[in-house]
């Protein structure tokens, strides 16, 4: 049964010459799970919002959107509110009320549903999502993942026929993101709910979706099964960069059959396709010159309140100058707290922290923050105090020509109107103005698409050339594997293991990159897609199509 039919849809924002959405045709059937992807600004959000009358942007449009055989514009407010659910990106701001139960009831209250029925539906939904435990809590006390699950539940309580999600996991850590995607999968499988989701992180959603739609410059350039994506899109399209590692590897090694999507399929693909005569890449070992220490933690202990538990227990590590050091680990294990301590925003109750050999206490009169240390926070919106990027940069006398990236075309925008990646870059420009020798970054890839992640990698390279030491706290394993000099795993308030990405990720069996999990029995120390592509081409295909050595 067809739920939505979109015919020749065009849409232009006011004062824009280019179409945000142009000549889009597709239909959505009941029970389908569709992933919509494309880089930032490709028109995904606009398209999704056009499917929800309450959120449709202002502008000029043409074409038809047909919902259940009637044009969408003729649907009543009540019908579209209840049968088309919409979940947005920011978990915090979508929540309206102060209590979890009230949030769940909100939609039904708006429709004037009798109280007895609200109670029943709220109870049902809360049990389905396992919200029962935090039903009476304040919404402000929930974690990001719980908030987003609550947003999903409070849309679902209105029993929609289709649910539209606009990058719902962008602000979540990978574990919360997988949980969220799993909840969607359950809804789709158990209740045959129709789902259309826009995503950057395709690792989790692509294996479970029925169809993938790819947008580029407002046009729909692919609409079909994920396994067939390489038949239509060739070359180095940004969309391909955000596909699961197995699919990327397949694309870059020129695979022929159906494209693998999961780690298991990827592994099978490598085993069946490539020889394993050469098991490791020759490592160009950099000569171990003893460098000066940039940041040092020695037996640091910290807790937030006297009666609280220790957040950091005997934390010790050191970072040498010019290094990119990535700290990985689960939620709430103290990663962000350690950055706070390093930047003197909180003080440990025992232990010593030294920055460039000097104790933090010895940096008098806030000299620590002048040409020495800077912190890029997780929430980059907290960096901006002005109404335009230009003011923001003028105030701190930033010289944008000396930056390792280009933001000159953003100068007249309001910082809040920028995309996630642009905000990140602007915040970084603002922070680099104080010429830090030690840069601390908290989750720099949160909410970024593949394009911006690649740019972030270049930025880090640029910083390294200027001999800036970078300490990154991140959940993003793939990013750490590609850009770090050294990685460390944080657990239970201290660092439990560390090493170069190759050593570190090969030694881990769960907490490691998809490529490492795919290649572990065949090759040694392969952790990133480029490395895997290299070793595969060195070994050559089993059928001997192009034997390269």
């Amino acid at each position: 049964m067809e739920i939505f039919r979109v015919e020749d849809l065009n849409f232009t924002y006011p004062d824009c010459s280019k179409n945000a959405v142009s000549d889009v045709n597709f239909s959505i059937n009941k029970g389908e799970f569709i992933v919509l992807c494309g880089s930032t600004g490709s028109g995904k959000s606009t398209l999704l919002r056009l499917l929800k009358p309450e959120l449709s942007p202002n502008g000029k449009g043409s074409g038809n959107i047909i919902f259940h055989d009637t044009p969408l514009s003729e649907c009543s407010g009540r019908q579209s509110a209840s049968s088309i659910g919409f979940v947005m990106q920011n978990p915090e701001q979508q929540i309206v009320t102060d209590k979890v139960w009230h949030e769940l009831a909100f939609g039904l209250e708006n429709l004037g549903v009798p109280v007895a029925e609200i109670s029943r539906k709220v109870a049902e939904t809360a049990s389905f999502f396992g919200i029962g435990k935090w039903y009476g809590q304040n919404t402000a006390d929930l974690s990001g993942g719980q908030k987003q699950l609550l947003n999903l539940a409070s849309v679902l309580v209105m029993s929609p026929e289709i649910i539209i999600l606009d990058e719902p996991t962008a602000q979540l850590d990978p574990i919360a993101a997988s949980e969220f995607i799993n909840a969607l999968k359950r809804l789709n499988e158990e209740l045959s709910l129709t789902v259309i989701i826009a995503e950057h992180r395709l690792e989790d959603v692509v294996p479970i979706c029925d169809r993938i739609m790819v947008m580029n410059g407002g046009k729909l350039i692919f609409n079909g099964e994920p396994r067939k994506i390489f038949t239509e899109i060739k070359g180095d399209s940004p969309v391909l960069r955000s596909l699961p590692a197995a699919a990327r590897l397949y694309g870059m090694t020129g695979g022929i059959d159906d494209c693998p999507l999961t780690v298991r399929e990827g592994r099978k693909y490598i085993e069946n396709t490539f020889k394993n005569d050469i098991t490791a890449l020759s490592v160009t070992s950099s000569d171990q010159v003893k460098k000066e220490t940039a940041l040092e933690f020695k037996n640091v202990r910290f807790r937030y309140s006297r009666d609280g538990e220790d957040i950091l227990r005997d934390l010790s590590f050191s970072v040498s100058t010019g290094e990119v050091f990535c700290i990985l680990g689960g939620n709430g294990c103290g990663k962000t707290t350690s950055l706070k301590l390093a930047s003197d925003l909180a003080t440990p109750y025992s232990g010593v922290i030294k920055v460039f050999g000097k104790k933090l206490k010895e940096y008098k009169n806030r000299s620590l923050y002048k040409e020495c240390l800077s912190l890029l926070p997780q929430d980059v919106q907290t960096v901006f105090l002005c109404d335009s990027v230009r003011e923001e940069l003028d105030k701190c006398r930033a010289d944008i020509s000396s930056l390792p990236f280009d933001i000159s075309d953003l100068l007249d925008m309001h910082p809040y109107d920028l995309s996630g990646g642009e905000q990140q870059a602007t915040a970084l420009a603002r922070i680099l103005a104080s010429k830090p020798k030690l840069l601390l970054m908290d989750e720099p890839t949160k909410g970024l698409d593949a394009d911006w992640k690649a740019k972030m990698k270049d930025i880090l390279e640029g910083l390294k050339e200027q001999n800036v030491t970078v300490v990154i706290v991140t959940h993003d394993i793939e990013f750490a594997a590609e850009c770090a000099d050294r990685c460390a795993m944080f657990f239970d308030g201290k660092i439990v293991s560390e090493g170069t990405p190759e050593e570190f990720f090969s030694a881990n069996s769960f907490y490691t990159t998809a490529v490492s999990r795919m290649t572990r029995d065949m090759y040694e120390n392969i952790v990133t897609v480029p490395q895997a592509v290299k070793i595969c081409s060195l070994n050559g295909r089993k059928d001997g199509e192009h034997d390269s050595h």
């Binding site: 102060d98 209590k99 209250e109 708006n110 429709l111 109280v115 304040n138 907290t382």
Partner: protein, 292 residues
């Protein structure tokens, strides 16, 4: 086994206003004393041995309030002694004692009231009056912790970026003002998302209903009826003129008539009702536990 704080919030609120209202309007010594007694008992039975500091604070307050009046007011016939050429009278002391008793009693009750009435219960009461006001209040309450949390985050970020260039006060104050304006912008900008989220879930499409988490049961009916009956009796007695009482020039009217006595008995019962409810719950639990 309904405890006092499990009653319907409206019933609890009516009880509190009935007791404190009577105490403040009558300020008759016995009523003031009963208010204090009820207030202390309710607070003590709910909190046990905790909050010793609160008791200490109220004790000190009580003494200060009692002693303040005879030092300021010098009315009254019976002079106890002369201090700095001013007479200190027994009547003024008793007046001070009476108002201290009343005030401390009411403050004890309010302390329990704030413990029992969570924001959710207050919202419930407003939602009975108007669902719309309650909705707006609920959103406002949500924003308070969000706002302060964001403020702290911005402050940390800006500190680590060197917003405050030196350790000086002027710089700190201008910095804080900029943070405040930034958080306001943040709230407005992100408010758009909240508005979208409300529209997406059909806000404003028609009449709203309000899900209520607090049922109105048999115990509530009984408790409410008793509250009204007892308060009514006291009010009748007061209207009858049983509680006319003077401290100056000398204490008079301490012996109430029959109506007055009936009113006092009713007030005693009114004040003690929650304590009985709590005690009943405690005893029942003991009994049930002894059977396990």
């Amino acid at each position: 086994m309904v405890r006092f704080h499990d009653l319907n919030p409206a019933v609890i609120a009516i009880w509190f206003f009935a007791v404190t209202g009577t105490a403040m309007f009558c300020s008759y010594p016995v009523i003031c004393f009963l208010t204090l007694l009820g207030g202390v008992l309710l607070f003590a039975i709910r909190n046990g041995k905790k909050h010793l500091k609160t008791h200490l604070f109220f004790l000190i307050l009580y003494v200060i309030l009692t002693l303040a009046n005879p030092l300021i007011s010098h009315n009254g016939k019976t002079v106890l002694f002369v201090m700095n050429d001013n007479p200190v009278t027994l009547e003024a002391l008793l007046y001070g004692l009476n108002s201290a008793t009343m005030l401390t009693g009411v403050l004890y009750l309010f302390r329990s009231f704030t413990q029992i009435m969570t924001s959710e219960k207050l919202l419930y009461i407003t939602s009975v009056l108007s669902p719309k006001i309650s909705m707006v209040l609920s959103m406002a309450i949500r924003y308070v912790p969000l706002f302060s949390r964001q403020g702290q985050k911005v402050s940390d970020t800006q500190k680590a970026m060197g917003l405050y260039t030196d350790d000086n006060i002027v710089d700190d104050i201008t910095g804080r003002m900029r943070i405040f304006s930034s958080v306001s912008t943040w709230a407005l900008e992100n408010g758009i998302v909240t508005a979208d989220s409300m529209a997406a879930r059909g806000y404003g499409t028609g009449r709203r209903t309000a899900l209520k988490r607090f049922p109105f049961g048999r115990t509530d009916v009984v408790f409410l009826a008793l509250t009204i009956a007892f308060t009514g009796t006291v009010a009748l007695a007061a209207a009858h003129g049983s509680y006319i009482f003077d401290f100056y020039p000398s204490v008079s009217g301490i012996h109430p008539d029959l109506v007055g006595k009936a009113g006092l008995a009713a007030f005693f019962l009114l004040v003690i009702m929650p304590v009985i409810k709590e005690t009943e719950a405690i005893i029942r639990w003991r009994y049930l536990e002894s059977k396990i």
